[in-house]
Amino acid sequence: MAEPAAAAAAPAGPVLRLEGLVKDYGGGEARTRALHGVDLAVGRGEFTALIGPSGSGKSTLLNLIGLLDRPTAGRVVLDGQDTGLLDDDGLTRCRGRAVGFVFQFHHLLPEFSALENVMLPMMAARGRQTPDMAECAGALLGQVGLGELLHRRANLLSGGQQQRVAVARALAMAPRVVLADEPTGNLDTRSADALFALLRQVNVRAGVTFLVVTHDPRLAARCDRIVELVDGRVVSDRPNRREGS
């Protein structure tokens, strides 16, 4: 698998640093605190599992790291950039360049082909479609095993195939970090294993950092590091000793 250019040019140090991250929802008496001062540093190329019960703040944390939302307090430093200093357009540009997303429900655009779905982040960044994008997207789809299905509409692919397209799309801009929110939650065991293997392959070969939210202890056990969140607080952060590692 080709190494993303951004990863190759990355500076040393943690690729992601969270400092005292607080997130409140609502206001006044209805205010609910979802995160209570989360501190976390994720090194380049790490494959980290984020686990915890439902409502523990995993998705909230992922949204803040992915710059889809702003923290109530604290800082998200992504690839050396304090994202709190960016305006909305700056956040959008930073998100498009540095973060890739894989969601539980793949969230592909059904009216677009697999190739076009992967090209979307590139087109959004450059403002137009160029021939090299198709080449790059085709190569990424080939790497996730969908080289034969480039022009098939997303809604005509199987669940596993759609999630592979989502992985290729997440890698389209050669991001520093890929955030995966229960990427296998909607797949059968066999497809889930295959997809997880693919994510690990990308992680190992391209050095892309992964932060994966999962409820599946089997998958968490195959990650480098496991961070456990309970009631908006990190209650456990431990390296994972994997079989054969």
């Binding site: 889809l68 939302d69 540009r93 360049r97 655009l109 979307l120 960044a125 479609q129």
Partner: protein, 405 residues
């Protein structure tokens, strides 16, 4: 292809049923606007043309003499009735100079002298009261065109030639080459040869007008080289009243524009225009609401897609433009299709429905300006209608819509 256009086209293509609905709505709206405008403009143009086919835009004549009522010294006069002073036709003083002044006035494109008065036309034992009009054949045609209204003979009034209308010709049993006698109140008369018969589409004019040369009319009306009226044509037909006021003030003559003489027609035209504008406004509102509601539904349906576009680096402005472009595309395509349908409908009615004379009952006036105007309205409506859905789409929170769809 720009990213926004690429996504907008794809959204429109994939939402086929919705796209077809808003395109149909816009197409019908534009077709109605074009058809209605062409029809109303055509009808009005025809009515005005018909009215002005036998009428100068501005007519100048000596002001009527007014009887002065002198109150007795130290008292009031109670006037029960003031009789109009009976007077024969009188010439405009120094008319060549006045004619030159009229021709030199801004907005006047042509002017011609005429001598007009009452007369009787007699053939054998048949007699009709007529309006005698003496014209200068060299300049009259530049003010009122009659040569293309001739149904027999030609428009020629040299010597003792006379041109009459179709109704008078039928009443007196006259054909081209026949003789008729004209006698005026001044007890002067002469025999004329009918050189042509016209039909201006106005029964009164066809029945009453007898056109002879200016010299003959001057003799019959005892004007001794004088004229009773100066008739002028102006550049802006609907500016005739303003020009008439200028001419009246400059010459001291009584100046009547065709607009003052046809106030009922003008009121009718204005009412027609107002009704048409109102209908078109409601059509535009209906089209705008249709586009806005369908695009609004589209935004709700595509919340997930919008969220993912934002998550993958698409800016708020780009999202907004994607929906504005959809509105613009709907406006442009709808206006093109609506323009064709409107033009086709107009042409169909113009050719299919005709009066007994073979003229169109629905004369239509299609012009490039009308199509450009309708297209501009459709484009503006599309953009304005898409503005709210676009704003709503741009404001969607990606985290929320991705999580909850």
């Amino acid at each position: 292809m720009p990213f926004e256009l690429f996504v907008a086209l794809r959204f429109l293509r994939e939402g086929r049923a919705q796209t077809a609905l808003i395109l149909a709505g816009t197409t019908v709206g534009v077709a109605v606007i074009i058809f209605l405008s062409a029809l109303i403009t055509g009808l009005q143009t025809t009515l005005v043309d018909l009215t002005l086919s036998s009428q100068a835009h501005v007519v100048l004549k000596r002001p009527d003499r007014v009887t002065r009522v002198e109150p007795p010294p130290g008292g009031e006069a109670v006037v029960a009735r003031v009789e109009k002073v009976p007077e024969r036709e009188k010439s405009i003083e120094q008319w060549p100079a006045v004619l030159a002044q009229v021709r030199a006035t801004a907005g006047v494109v042509a002017a011609t002298p005429t001598a007009a008065g009452s007369a009787f036309a007699t053939r054998g034992e048949l007699s009709r009261s007529v309006a005698l009009r003496g014209l200068d054949p060299l300049t009259f045609d530049s003010v009122v065109r009659l040569d293309d209204k001739m149904v027999a003979g030609r428009f020629h009034v040299e010597g003792t030639e006379a041109v009459i209308g179709t109704v008078l010709a039928r009443d007196l049993g006259l054909e081209v080459g026949d003789k008729l006698r004209l006698t005026t109140a001044q007890d002067r008369g002469d025999v004329f040869t009918v050189s042509g018969i016209f039909d201006v589409g106005n029964r009164d004019v066809n029945q009453r007008w007898v056109l002879v040369s200016l010299r003959q009319a001057q003799t019959l009306l005892d004007l001794s080289g004088g004229i009773t009226t100066i008739e002028a044509k102006v550049a802006d037909v609907f500016g005739a009243e303003a020009t008439a006021r200028v001419l009246g003030a400059a010459t001291g003559l009584s100046a009547d524009s065709w607009m003052r003489l046809n106030q009922q027609l003008l009121s009718g035209l204005q009412a027609q225009s107002s009704s048409s504008a109102m209908i078109q406004t409601f059509v535009v509102i209906a089209v705008a609401l249709g586009i806005a509601s369908v695009l609004g539904v589209s935004v709700i349906q595509k919340r997930g897609e919008i969220g993912i576009l934002k998550a993958t680096g698409t800016s708020t402005g780009t999202i907004k433009r994607i929906f504005l472009i959809q509105g613009a595309i709907v406006g442009l395509v709808g206006s093109s299709a609506g323009g064709l349908i409107g033009a086709g409908l107009s042409a169909f009615f113009a050719h299919a429905v005709k009066n007994p004379y073979g003229d169109s009952l629905f004369p239509v006036a299609l012009s490039p300006g009308l199509f450009l105007g309708a297209s501009a309205v459709a484009l503006a409506t599309g953009l304005a209608s898409a503005w709210w859905p676009a704003r709503h789409a741009a404001r969607l929170d990606p985290a929320t819509v991705i999580r909850h769809g």
